[in-house]
């Protein structure tokens, strides 16, 4: 990438001609309402990078939270950066314009730290796209003192191995305190004239931070010195043989007793943290473009397929008054006409009805609609809507047997009752989410989806029903992390079958490309051998793969073949006794608990909501 701009020289103003040659030029010019002013003299210049398009990234609550926290620090300045659409990416390359911060136009490589939010596995090639456009070497070991520190956070970091070579460090878990500590460590190191390795040494002591060993062995000296300090700080027993140290170099322990675990960062009290009530408003239409109040983090329902339900435990609620204050501040500061109360299961917020009652009247006066997008079927009694014009429910499986296996804990009666209530309230359309390829699924379960839709259809006067079916992806740190993913061909057969049968019923059917799910499964349970594959797929031209039009399955199969990697090894079943590559990450939920839940799934036994009964997942939240 270019050297035609000096490192600290803003690329603004961009040529009108170049901007107008691209779709949606408003993505690239800054000027959004509520942008924090840049502090050019701040010791830490932080670039918050979201590896997806502008209109997706600006809606993400996690980056809004970090943006606020960093800009509140007196000696830090944070800007946004999103992946350019391919047309603008070509313009940047052709005209040797480096990727830049949206507020100032300063090239990305001039920033001290780049922080990527890894929300989904198919964003990995887009990370490389952004590094490439920025002129920053992909691999951490290739970056020198003059290059930014490149870090990552987000849900994918619970198994960071496929991209470990590309990042200097990962923040696993809640980012609020961790990012502040990292910023402070960076600033202190800079003031002391320290080098990058000194910063990484300090960073590795922050709860939730993993500094990968690089594959050249150069960094092992850093982490070797740190192991004692980390063990002491995080109360992890330390007893490493030379063999274990060597295996720890690639974080693939040779035994199940991984001696050194990176503990996920957990914020115990959400009310003690600032909440972003002045979010940056997108210049153009964005996804989920509305005011958002996060009611709580974590979930107690214990759905066995759900990674979020495991890695965000324990439940931490925002206070009732705090939720209300945040709601009204957001409306005042943004002018949004829609407010969303979000969490993994909003109906479980203890005073949800009271909150809605308190908010509804005032919001109605201000012409603001209220939505609760993550409503479980058993929370819905028809008295509040889940979002949009119709209602959305997620039974996930077509039979009670399979719902019990996945621990969805919803009965057919509850499903039918919720749909009936919805139809009575003039919600004539219902959207249902299911998954194909769940563990222990049989043809009967697939037929169960059809039977359920048929029953729902009879509840209303010509109701509109649509079904959306994704393919199950086994995820790390869940009871199903040992399960095989359904083969692509089998998934496609089931999709065709459902499409035909549901069409006969007059039910609209949407489904995800099974090839996408196959690649997601490989990356989700991948290891460091995949970094070369990710790079090869990027080199072949893949970016923004979360968008259907850009996903290219053949590039992945070619890259697997060239690297001599067998993708079926990653998508296949795992032995319950074998160590797993991500075992070194301690999300709080123990492997023993996950194995117990898997065993219960095999027997079709459900596990009750842990608000009622503790099942010993490892977090011991009730004893605190």
């Amino acid at each position: 990438m270019s050297k035609s701009t000096t490192k600290h020289q803003s690329v603004y103003p961009l040529s009108r001609e170049l901007l107008l040659s691209c779709e949606k030029p408003a993505r690239y010019v800054g000027g959004e309402y509520n942008l924090a002013p840049v502090k050019p003299d701040a010791a830490l210049q932080f670039l918050l990078c979201f590896p997806d398009a502008y209109e997706v990234g600006l809606s993400n609550l996690g980056v809004k939270i970090l943006y606020d926290i960093l800009n509140a620090l007196p000696d830090a300045s944070c800007e946004y950066c999103f992946a350019p659409w391919p047309d603008f990416g070509r313009v940047l390359r052709e005209h040797q314009i480096p990727l830049y911060g949206l507020t100032s136009g300063i090239p990305a490589r001039a920033f001290g730290m780049l922080g990527f939010s890894l929300q989904y596995e198919l964003s990995y090639t887009t990370v490389l796209y952004m590094l490439d456009l920025a002129g920053i070497p992909f691999r951490a070991r290739e970056r020198g003192e003059g290059d930014p520190v490149v870090i990552a956070g987000g849900p994918c970091t619970v198994n960071p191995l496929p991209v470990a070579d590309f990042f200097d460090l990962f923040v696993i878990g809640d980012g609020e305190s961790a990012i502040k500590e990292l910023a402070e460590a960076y600033i202190a190191n800079k003031r002391a004239g320290g080098k990058k390795a000194d910063f990484l040494r300090a960073a590795a002591k922050v709860r939730g931070v993993w500094v990968p060993d690089d594959d050249s062995g150069q960094r092992s000296a850093v982490s070797g010195q740190l192991k004692d300090e980390i063990a002491t700080r995080h109360s992890v027993p330390l007893a490493m043989t030379q063999n274990e140290r060597d295996s720890d170099r690639n974080c693939q322990p040779t035994t199940d007793n991984c001696p050194l675990k990176i503990k996920r960062a957990v914020e115990p009290d959400l009310d003690a943290l600032p909440y972003p009530v002045k979010p940056v408003l997108p210049n153009i239409e964005a996804v989920h473009d509305r005011a958002v109040v996060e009611l709580f983090r974590g979930c107690t329902r214990g759905c066995r397929f759900c990674q979020a339900g495991m890695i965000y435990r324990p439940v931490r609620e925002r206070g009732f008054d705090r939720c209300k204050e945040s709601a009204f501040s957001l409306i005042d500061n943004t002018g949004y006409d829609e407010l969303s109360l979000t969490s993994l299961s909003s109906g479980d917020y203890p005073r949800i009805r009271e909150l809605i009652a308190d908010l509804s009247g005032a919001l109605r006066m201000r012409h603001v609609g209220l939505t609760l997008p993550s409503l479980r079927l058993d929370s819905f009694s028809g008295d509040f809507k889940s979002g949009g014009g119709g209602l959305t429910f997620a039974p996930e499986a077509g039979t009670q047997r399979l719902r019990d296996i996945i621990n969805k804990n919803i009965t057919e009666e509850e499903i039918l009752s919720a749909c009936a209530a919805a139809f009575q309230r003039d919600n004539a359309s219902v959207k249902l989410y299911f998954m194909l390829g769940l563990p222990f699924e049989t043809q009967e379960d697939i037929d169960g989806i059809i039977a359920l839709c048929s029953k729902i259809k009879r509840l209303g006067k010509r109701p509109k029903i649509s079904v959306s079916c994704s393919v199950f992806v086994p995820k790390p740190h869940t009871p199903f992390q040992w399960c095989a993913q359904i083969g692509r061909e089998k998934a496609e057969v089931s999709q065709r079958y459902l499409k035909a049968e549901l069409k006969r019923l007059g039910v609209t059917f949407h489904y995800h490309d099974a090839r996408v799910s196959e690649i997601e499964a490989v990356l989700a349970r991948g290891d460091r051998a995949l970094s070369g594959v990710v790079e090869a797929v990027y080199d072949a031209g893949s970016v923004l793969e979360g968008w259907t039009e850009f996903f290219n399955y053949e590039r992945w199969t070619a890259a697997f073949a060239a690297a001599n990697v067998q993708p079926e090894n990653y998508g296949g079943a795992r032995n319950l006794t074998e160590p797993l590559p991500w075992d070194f990450i301690d999300v709080g939920v123990t492997k023993a608990f996950l194995k117990r839940e898997y065993a219960r799934a095999e027997k079709g036994l459900t596990t009750e909501d842990c608000r009622k009964t503790c099942h010993g997942c490892g977090l011991r939240c009730k004893s605190k």
Partner: protein
Amino acid sequence: MLLFEFEKTGAFRYIPHVDMLRAVTRTLRRARIECGYSHGFNPHILLYFSPPLPIGTASRCEQCALDCVLSAEEFLERYNRAAPAGLKALSAAVFPYPVNPAAKVNKARYEIVLNTGKVEIKSCFAALSAAAREVLAGDLFEVSAGRDGGVKEARPLLHDIAVRAGGGAVAVDAVLSAGNRNLRADRFIEGLLKRAGLNYTGADITRVTLYQ
């Protein structure tokens, strides 16, 4: 009814009309300005805008009318406190009758600045002036009709052209039809440059006045 004039400059010159509507609506809501709403299942603020601009054209004369009980001064103060840079209100007036800028506006003046560079100003000015005189004297003036490569006859939509030079650039002031019969300024200047045998791109276009 209150009619206010506002700018669409800076970053906002690149936002499409529908997003500009959204931005103005949100500004009114942040400013807590009580407006008239539509009825029905999904009420929205009733706003009446001047004819839309293509992406990339700035403006110092966009108009919006709404039902509002504030005085012009109070409106300007509250609106501008909540408005983003590039979308500020420039003036306001209260009318005792309904106003609809989209229906009333039929012409607009544009200021088009070409960055020719100092060396070429003289020759550019001469060529453009000659082309402008020729176009105004004649009956025919073709401009591109869209991305599909078609052309359309635009002379009836062109009302005046004045070419001037200064400050290291050549500027063209043009009065073009706007509203139901519309001539886009970017297509106008492209057509005029072609007529003049010139090849500049990246003209800086600003709508400066609306006429009824």
